[in-house]
Symmetry: C2
Subunit: 340 residues, 2 copies
């Protein structure tokens, strides 16, 4: 290989629309972003998904004999199938043949494979899944973590999420001095359960981040925060609720807007504007989720991801590699050890 | 008093728009629902909020010398101010001079006052705050509890929430055989933290309710569930997020829809339809929250409540009294003790 271009290992077998949409998104990313894509999976299926006139010499396919299904128990499946596409993709990073991994498959399996194959970053007890929500301020997303990797979190884990999230927000999302919040049930320092109160204290005292206090549910979309940390239980509920809300609202709009003659004409006139609204609310436009705290750049997409989401996630992965996010996170912990 | 009409004690001093909007909503409820309203608070302020031609003989004002502000620590404020309007309102229920209480003031203070003045229902360890979310199925709301009273919940508490919520859904919201779900991060029985797994098991074995399994964040608005139980931390985050989402979407619609000439004409034509959409998404249309598990019918409104929300909450309170929800809940626990 030896190219200086960013190389992304793509789990071509993961997701509801694999390999077709995965391959389509990857090829677009290769074209428009100048990244190298390594398509990991069953070569026959991948070749069948390539456009008719593809020059196979230009597309790198890395064979993997197995895949992990959405209903498999992640840890045991990852162990039982060493040749699963997600494992092979992780190994490419481990062996420095790729700079990052993307998968739209089983997110639990991606986390398990990352932990087993790549391990954790030094100083990190528990990796987290982070995802970016749009906010009411256009162009100012908020990174929420953890959204599902850790159902119970000690305050120390939340503090680590905050440090990692800040580095990501600064070096990938381009936020200068990211404002960090702790998801909680009130603004006051003393609010929440014991873990929340202790986490608040630790975040307050951490000099590596800019902690501005508790974030309530209503603050997530306000644009006041750049990073919000929470345990993976509440984060996961929130993420899935938010995804569903978007769909519910669009369905209500589709049902109610064209009612009556005025409604039909009005809706027709508004088509371009409605499309723009859909884009502002659409999760896919804002890229996938990422695993923070494992020793590699790993992005995961929703199982329902189609080519545009895949493309966006690969774009984010490239940014993370270009801006050396892992090194930034590690340097925080090395500094800490040296000064402590 | 001695009337057979339902009597609602209204905390006229609680809420951002007190007493004006509170009194307006209460008077409308008296007019349209045939309930008796007892306006609790500062007589001078209440009288000033009444319409000019009010026949004072028809409006019952119960004097209360104090009120609890939104920023006060609830338990100590409720103890320090025995003559606070929320305390006086609770006492009216305690002394059987009122059948229910409504307050749009400090919800923590309402809970504290209910606990101190009325106590818990027999068999209930922890009262919960329940609130009704609209779902994608028009006319089929879902009751979510707890949304803020208990930040840590033992599985047994969640089971009690389920029993109380089912009774409320059946006898106030008119659901036959309410379907109960446990808010969790996956559909499988084994998902979630230890508390969630144990709660799942207890709900599964409880013969008083119809438990249909875990509800993920995406299921809240799906209409598949009539009652969803969760701890007050995640419930509170979800509620506040949901309230904010509605506002965010409406703001995006207001910003994006009228863009351009077509947009302006289209938006004008769609005005009535947009109003209907706002109503479907509007929390106020679906009434306030309720305290379940205290020995009295207690409804609480959002601090920002205006007359229509107050009216709706009073309507729900009347339903709860008419349908003897407290007695229904109690009978579940009496039956249990007798059979156990």
């Amino acid at each position: 290989m030896g190219s200086t271009r960013v190389r992304i290992a793509i789990d071509a077998m993961g997701g509801d629309h694999a390999p077709g949409e995965i391959v389509a998104g990857a090829l677009r990313a290769r074209e428009e972003l100048g990244v190298e894509v390594l398509l990991v999976g069953d070569p026959q299926q991948i070749k069948a998904a390539l456009p008719p006139k593809t020059n196979f010499g230009q597309v790198e396919i890395v064979p993997a004999q197995e895949a992990i299904a959405m209903d498999e128990e992640p840890l045991s499946a990852v162990r039982r199938k060493p040749q699963a596409s997600i494992n092979v993709a992780m190994d490419l990073v481990k062996q420095q043949q790729a700079d990052a991994v993307f998968s739209a498959g089983h997110s639990g399996a991606a986390m398990a494979a990352a932990l087993l194959r790549l391990g954790r970053l030094p100083g990190i007890d528990r990796p987290a899944i982070g995802t970016v929500f749009p906010t009411i301020v256009a162009g100012k997303p908020v990174l929420v973590l953890d959204v599902g990797a850790n159902v119970d979190c000690r305050p120390k884990f939340l503090e680590q999420f905050a440090v990692m999230g800040s580095a990501y927000s600064q070096y990938v999302l381009g936020t200068s001095e990211p404002k960090v919040g702790l998801l909680n049930i009130g603004e006051e320092d003393s609010k929440g359960n014991d873990a929340a109160v202790r986490a608040h204290q630790m975040l307050r005292e951490n000099t590596q981040i800019t902690f501005i206090g508790n974030a309530e549910g209503r603050d997530v979309l306000s644009g006041r925060f750049d990073v919000i940390v929470c345990d993976g239980f509440v984060g996961n509920v929130l993420l899935k609720f938010a995804e569903a809300v978007g769909e519910v609202i669009l369905q209500i709009l589709r049902e109610e807007l064209p009612q009556g003659l005025h409604g039909q004409i009005g809706s027709a006139l508004l088509k371009p504007n409605l499309k723009r609204i859909k884009q502002r609310m659409d999760h896919a436009e804002h890229g996938g989720a990422l695993l923070l705290g494992v020793a590699g750049v790993c992005f995961i997409g929703h199982g329902s991801s189609q080519a545009p989401s895949i493309f966006n996630a690969i774009r984010m992965a490239k940014e993370a590699v270009d801006n050396e996010v892992l090194q930034r996170i590690q340097s925080q912990y090395i500094l800490e050890r040296e000064s402590g």
